[in-house]
Symmetry: C2
């Protein structure tokens, strides 16, 4: 580790002249003062009168512990940005330190530009303090409301992946990412350090990670703060970085160390860029990172009630509490705030003194005003080909076979080609792009790979635009960072394992929900999931790979940001994908299989069907002109096949039965219009599903979701849903359907069970269905595969 | 890295004498032969006739790539176990390599003991081959069906945490854990390497990690296989290990290297144990680990159709496919299998030759028969105190205040004390035990911590039994390993962030579902979640911390392994916790707040209520002897408070209204009895919720779950549910309820909206409710806290 000793030896202690040092320290004190003020004060913001309980918030909500460290970093980054005209954003992993980001953006002026009611004077400062963690005010953490942030301060672990995502294809950008020592214990953070193997210095920006060791979490020490220094150095060298250490608690010395170290790491970054861009250097560069070790709650109360607070876990939230009960604490609070000498920092109107305000970078160079952190400002539409050009010819339903994702792959290839110059589209996934049959993409680009390459590798390149790492967390984090900084992308994943990022999806969905109500946040491209290798076709990998529940998870979030599509074939998948790639501020979930299967809709029919999201398939129905006896509904590719096969069986054996087939491609149409903007109006729903007609609904996922979506519909009491009921193993595709009662024979039997008035033939037909099912089952167990007429089945009409 | 060069220099190449080398190699060949046979063959298991298509499976499902490496490790571990009489289990991170575990346990005899139909002869081998990845047979991955396994080969990332979990409190045990280089890219794996900071050599067993670099994933290289050797060494030294390298592809040399290295690492482990146990050594030991670098698909076909296969990503699944279309591939398959010289390995009956069978350890020392991998065999009941002794006195409902989790903490403290000698109970959580007010535990034990300790640390000790790391993945993985190896535990977590382990929960639930149907798998203790700091009391941390959706996720899994409890107060929490700690083979989810709140039930009443799981609260109702006008149901602590407050309002203002209050503590009672064993029979449900009576249901989580559970109930059309509808920010607790229409005023208004026949007074009362709500809202915005009569409210009857 290049530690401060080494730096001192090279004259680093004179990096800052006395006046610059004084001013940077003053900025830091101002940010600390404003941070404490946000946590504690309702009024008397400049302490122009003695502090009383009336000036203090009745509930003290906020996190002091990490805040002074963030303020320290921000102050020093400002100097570097100005000195080098850097294009830089700040990603605050310790999002608890919301007060720091608010304080610094207020000091630099970007806050008041976005929130003119919080002006740069005493009244503005009073509002700044009051609003923090206050009803009707702002959250206690970094949030969409926070200028300059692309990272929610909620769940920990994703800062580093977000930072890398933001700098891909932004060659001029540096994302300074503070990783807290708590966050550093999480799996997603531990994995994301390896993102350096996917960063191309020629075409991407840089991430400057600062591991902030302040030693403690809520009540525990942090692991990385308690391992020996040599191991810590090796860990980050092992991750491929060049670590620099900045450690201490004496402000003046720390300012010199931090300034010198920032100069050194920015020189390193510059050198790596130059080498790659001007001298064509190849291979994996060793990017710098900083280990910053400072006391938790630095500059706060040293001891409270006889116990150590600064430099201890006790400073995690509010170091001084119970102010009403303990007048001594109120006195200590005032003393603490006055220790920053506010009268030296703010003028008589409460504005930051001009010589300090001058420390901030100008205009969009201020980290609170950098457009990369409000990516919608930079967003350009994708240049999309006409998806109709990729259509599979379907002269008659069921007569063509195709692999839906392979067809989509051709479209994605051309999206990649058309936007190659813009460099604003990437595809992400855990090593499954080829397995998911999207390999046409490799005609247009390669897999991103900076590490060693060997002869038999398949499409690896430093500037590849397909990003594969066996970490769904890293894929998701990169994509979020890429989108929030103004680009487009798609995440393709095995359906079962997308649950790995359930919680990351939650956080992103919450971000979108809040962002939509913040006028200055411009819309960003939607987060698109393609879930393939889905539950019904994980027969070969077995039970552990079978789980369709991500849809259930997604629909818990706000209706206006959620879309779920289950295209039944290739042409509908093309339509849906086109719509998703054009959309903004949504999370789109597309579930589509990769296996060869019959195709149902011509492109014209597909466009019409997807535009409605739900529709009667008249060509498969025989209820023309009459009320149907039964509606057979389906959503998902395999349920659609089984439904059509069941209809086939019933039409053969019970030709008098009037059957209507409804296919659902947009799951949200099932909800009432009041619940979701795509919800079908009740009148149209009732026309499609007559109020007293039994409905057999074959659904891709867990069946109760359909009940949940449709429980307010008038027909709901007649709705009988089949889906995945958590039965599976390593078996055949058709047996997967059989085990979950979703196969054609069960579905046809379900119809007969609900139509007792059909008369004498019904018993005979039921027996036929049972016999056919038994025949299939026996064949499967004997031969280890499905009967050929199942796998090769084609709709016969 | 202590590489093979260093080992050779110390004479390591003579670790194995010629005969031992020959036999170990023969075992390895036998395991490889059986692995290929499982993937390919239906018949002709010993190749006693020329191989034809009829002998080959019609669908080839399995993963060869990782398998020979696993076989290699297993063969060498057997030698070490016998030489040192080791108590060892094998955790196969690359669970795709299911054929390896099956092959080795078959060779050692444990397989046939558990599955007598798969005997150790030619017919048994035929069945062994046929059943693999075959309908009605066994999964293609390591699974509960696999002898000696505690680790599902599905989702990647959890092997290492499982291995550590298994050895905690098993001082004699060594878990050899193979981590694939694909898995090593995941976040959970990257975090779990730090588990060494929580392993006490004096009281715990040891984990021997083997990072298996075979270079490739499905289509990509593996990151750790492509970084330079020096970085790789530093990475694992940085993680705190002493890495040893075993690299090569020439079998004889590799056998010598592996044997010598295993001897060295087992010496290291022995020395660490001795130092801690006999010389009282303190501090963090540097445990050994092995980096094993071998070709992917080692010993398989070198090239197929002109392309490199051995040592390439192309050997990931089946190196030879399309056997029907390509006769050359069939010939290569036969040649490949014969290359293992089966005639030297198996006798004329198909049994492993005696001199090879003798290589296996004896009895329970065989890794397929080690009882630690079938933890139910070792499981002892917890010694539990009488939970009634911890009761909060509740002379009248609503008159006592208590913090539910703090009361539970006292019970857990005594569970910890009573079982201290057994060492079979631990509590896990991401640094929230104290924050969740379970700190009474620290009267009985400490937090586990092996790294450096400082003066102001709070209850850290090497043998602490509260395990805190800021990685929900690691907590969950440790707990799973701890339970599956026969112990008890509890995971306490913020409700919102338990979604981080959604997918791990899925895998564990699937494991339990399958295990229950395997006769030789003995029941294990249930996985208990305590979700506190829940959505309604994350007002201070804000929107990112608010998510009650884990319950929705959980109820997608099989009803017979899922329980969800929402105790409304402290005494009900005690009852529920006692039940969960006694249960087996379940996942129990308990959601309970930590804040001070009114208590409703005396212990006697609580026992009765929890035993039913749902019940009418007669003391809060005024419908005695008559049919109620409305049922007000509630589930969850905050919804219960708001419901009772709404009843209070209604009884004041509409005394003629007959209200029944129903509280639900066991959410599964709402499901029909046919769907869940706890489901209330329809007749009882109808008696509680009269068929035509409106029900206002205040629910802790997303409201639609109640509809989903109750949609088959006769009353369902009259069910009106309030719950969390994804509205939140940093605000006050009561405002959280208001924003989601779950507060007393909305609930009372909901009643009035559904009883239009109430007559003239209704308009007046509605206005009163609106005015009161407005008054509260204005107070909150003005004062930044709830009105005192809200926070201090008590049920007045």
């Amino acid at each position: 580790m290049r530690d401060d000793t080494a730096l001192r030896a090279t004259g680093a202690s004179e990096t800052l002249d006395a006046e610059t040092l004084r001013r940077i320290d003053a900025w830091w004190r101002a940010a600390n003062y404003l941070s404490v003020g946000q946590i504690y004060l309702l009024d008397n913001p400049l302490l122009r009168e003695p502090l009383t309980l009336d000036h203090v918030k009745p509930r003290l909500l906020g996190h002091w512990g990490t805040t002074p460290g963030l303020n320290f970093v921000y102050a020093h980054l400002n100097r570097a940005i100005r000195a080098r005209d850097l294009d830089m954003i700040f990603v605050a992993g310790p999002g608890h330190g919301g007060p720091a980001l608010v304080a610094n953006t207020y000091l630099e002026g970007s806050y008041s530009e976005l929130y003119p009611n919080v002006g740069r004077d005493a009244e503005g400062m009073r509002r700044l303090f009051r609003q923090f963690s206050f009803p009707g005010g702002i959250p206690s953490h970094a949030a969409p409301e926070t200028p300059g942030s692309i990272h929610e301060g909620g769940e920990l672990g994703y800062a580093l992946a977000h930072a890398f995502g933001a700098v891909f294809d932004h060659p001029g950008l540096i994302a300074c990412c503070v990783v807290g020592d708590g966050e550093a214990e999480t799996g997603p953070a531990a994995a994301a350090w390896h993102s350096n193997k996917f960063l191309d210095p020629a075409n991407d920006g840089a991430v400057l990670p600062i591991l902030h060791l302040n030693g403690y979490k809520i009540a525990n020490p942090a692991v990385l703060a308690r391992i020996d220094g040599a191991s810590l150095v090796k860990l980050f060298e092992g991750y491929g970085y060049r670590p620099y250490l900045v450690e201490g608690d004496e402000p003046a010395a720390m300012h010199q160390r931090m300034a010198a170290t920032l100069d050194a790491v920015l020189d390193d970054i510059h050198a790596i860029r130059l080498a790659a861009r001007e001298r064509g250097a190849r291979g994996l560069p060793r990017w710098p990172m900083i280990v910053l070790r400072t006391p938790k709650g630095w500059t706060g109360p040293k001891r409270v009630d006889g116990l150590k607070v600064e430099g201890s876990w006790r400073s995690h939230q509010v170091p001084l509490a119970e102010l009403a009960a303990k007048p001594e604490h109120l006195r200590m609070l005032e003393e603490w705030m006055r220790s920053y000498r506010p009268e030296e920092l703010f003028d008589e109107h409460g504005a930051l003194r001009p010589e300090l305000a001058a420390l901030a970078p100008a205009g969009a160079r201020r980290m609170g005003a950098n457009p990369h952190a409000n990516g919608g400002l930079l967003l350009e539409d994708l240049d999309l080909p006409d998806f109709r050009d990729y259509a599979v010819a379907v002269p008659r339903p069921g007569q063509t076979q195709a692999e839906a994702t392979r067809v989509l792959g051709a479209l994605l290839r051309d999206v990649m080609k058309r936007n190659a110059a813009r460099r604003n589209f990437r595809v992400f996934g855990p090593d499954e792009t080829a397995s998911n049959r999207l390999d046409a993409l490799f005609e247009a680009t390669d897999r991103t790979w900076m590490a060693e390459r060997l002869d038999d590798d398949d499409h690896l390149a430093p500037d590849g635009r397909v990003m594969e790492i066996l970490s769904e967390h890293t894929c998701q984090g990169w994509l979020e960072g890429y989108l929030l900084s103004g680009r487009h992308g798609l995440f393709s994943c095995y359906e079962a394992f997308i649950h790995i990022v359930d919680s990351m999806f939650n956080q992103h969905a919450k971000w979108l929900k809040v962002s939509k109500n913040i006028p200055w946040r411009r819309p960003v491209a939607s987060l698109n999931y393609l879930l393939t290798s889905h539950v019904w076709r994980q027969d070969h990998n077995g039970f552990s790979h079978q789980d369709p529940g991500f849809i259930d998870h997604v629909v818990n979030k706000k209706a206006d940001i959620i879309r779920v599509y289950l295209p039944p074939d290739a042409n509908t998948l093309l339509c849906v994908a086109d719509r998703c790639l054009r959309s903004r501020d949504l999370v789109n979930v597309i579930v589509a299989g990769k296996q060869s299967q019959p195709q149902w809709l011509s492109m014209d029919a597909a466009v019409k069907h997807c535009s409605a999201g739900i529709g009667i398939w008249a060509w498969a129905s025989n209820d023309q002109g009459v009320e149907p006896d039964v509606v057979m509904a389906c959503a998902g590719d395999v349920p659609t096949i089984e439904t059509l096969a069941a209809v086939d069986l019933l039409r053969q054996h019970m030709p008098q039965l009037k059957i209507r087939v409804v296919n659902v491609v947009d799951l949200m149409t099932l909800q009432p219009r009041e619940e979701h903007p795509h919800g079908l109006p009740d009148r149209e729903f009732d026309a499609m599903f007559p109020v007293d007609t039994p409905v057999i609904f074959a659904y891709h996922g867990y069946p109760w979701l359909i009940h949940r979506l449709a429980y307010r519909r008038h027909n709901h009491d007649h709705l009988h849903v089949r889906g995945y009921k958590e039965e599976g193993t390593t078996t055949t595709p058709f047996d997967m359907a059989v085990r979950n009662d979703l196969d054609r024979f069960h579905l046809a039997g379900d119809v007969l069970d609900r139509l007792p008035g059909l008369g004498g033939r019904i018993g005979h037909v039921k027996q036929v269905l049972r016999d056919r099912l038994t025949e299939h089952r026996e064949y499967i167990v004997a031969h280890g595969r499905d009967m050929p007429d199942i796998s090769g089945w084609q709709w016969p009409y």
